[in-house]
């Protein structure tokens, strides 16, 4: 421990004595990306890697995600880790629908991303068949470093997202494509 505390860098803006002007997008994005509340949806071995990621050794809390939310209504990031059987599909979809906007999804591991080795009648061939996915983490299972990298890519997305994105026609079309609401 160096004793040094890392503070998020201020977004670009105009600074003067007693004031700092920047865009609202940048400030909100900065706040959101450093206080993600993840909802772990762990069904198999990738979930074990996630437990390691959350624990003291890798410590996802360093990225502002120490507060796991086990209710979808309070969470920002749905982390799907593990094989999703077709029977589980509607459950996952309902969890996604219960999350409040803005929400992001990360598919951790080969199974959540594409079905992985389970190319068979009972397994959903990637969760992007039923819900939109923002970041895919490859691996079987991925190492904690990879999961952390996936979360950091999510942070990039959150930090750069326009406040109007969720009201845009493009986003509505995306939701319509998945027939969500």
């Amino acid at each position: 421990m160096s004793g040094k505390v890392n503070i998020a860098e201020a977004p670009p803006g105009i600074e003067g004595p007693g004031f700092f002007a920047t865009t609202l997008d940048a400030v909100v994005g900065l706040g959101r990306k450093n206080s993600i509340w993840p909802l772990p949806f762990a069904t198999s071995c990738c979930g074990i890697e996630f437990m390691s990621t959350m624990s003291s050794h890798y410590d996802l809390a360093r990225f502002g995600s120490e507060r796991l939310s086990f209710t979808p209504r309070q969470s920002d990031l749905l982390m799907v880790m593990g094989t999703i059987a077709k029977k589980m599909g509607p459950v996952l979809r309902q969890v996604y629908e219960q999350m409040a906007e803005p929400k992001w999804v990360i598919a951790v591991g080969a199974c959540a991303s594409s079905g992985g080795i389970f190319d068979t009648y009972s397994v959903l061939q990637g969760i992007d068949k039923i819900i939109p996915v923002d970041v895919y983490v490859p691996g079987c299972p991925p190492r904690p470093e990879q999961i952390i990298d996936g979360v950091m890519r999510i942070q990039d997305l959150i930090g750069n997202e326009s406040l109007r994105r969720r009201n845009s026609q493009e986003y509505k079309d995306l939701m319509d494509k998945y027939m969500i609401k």
Binding site: K87, G89, S114, G115, D119, T120, Y121, S122, V123, Q125
Partner: protein, 168 residues
């Protein structure tokens, strides 16, 4: 009590259901009988209620699909266990795939309920008289019986192994 010998079981079958069974094999000394589908309930009921034998534990039910055996494509295998003797036997019944009717054993064994549902789920065997014959493991919307041989094992919606992904 000591385990039942092969001879004891065979003489019981010969004495009680002559001409109604055939011994198909005995791998690892596990006697395997083929019995007529109509006689299934009667024979198992005998084995269950007989004080000497006491086959009162239904270990497993499973299905097999032999697409080339015309007229008897579906086979259902029952593993019966006698707690009294620590002895196990196996029964096989056959049914045509066009009319896969097999009498239920739920009247004898409570455990038959879920196992028959599972066999129905994967092979489409119609257990006549079952109180609640519906899917148990697969999702309810599924229309096929996935362990029948004509059903493709790989999911047809899978694209990442398709030829175009590799420039073919």
């Amino acid at each position: 009590m000591s385990p039942l010998t092969k001879e004891q079981i065979l003489s019981y079958f010969e004495g009680n259901f002559p001409n109604n069974y055939s011994l198909s094999s005995a791998p690892s000394d596990l006697l395997t009988f083929e019995i007529p589908t109509q006689q299934l309930y009667k024979i198992v009921s005998h084995l269950f209620h007989d004080d000497e034998l006491g086959f009162q534990f239904l270990t497993d039910i499973c299905g097999v699909h032999y697409p080339d055996n015309t007229g008897e494509e579906l086979v259902v295998v029952y593993h019966l266990h006698s707690m009294k003797h620590g002895t196990r036997i196996r029964l096989k019944v056959k049914a045509p795939i066009s009319k896969p009717d097999i009498p239920t054993l739920t009247g004898l064994y409570g455990s038959a309920n879920w196992m028959e549902r599972e066999t129905y789920d994967f092979y489409g065997v119609n257990f006549v008289g079952h109180p609640n014959l519906k899917r148990i493991l697969n999702m309810d919307e599924m229309v096929e019986f996935p362990l029948r041989k004509e059903f493709p094992l790989e999911d047809p919606t899978r694209v990442d192994k398709a030829d175009f992904q590799f420039g073919r």
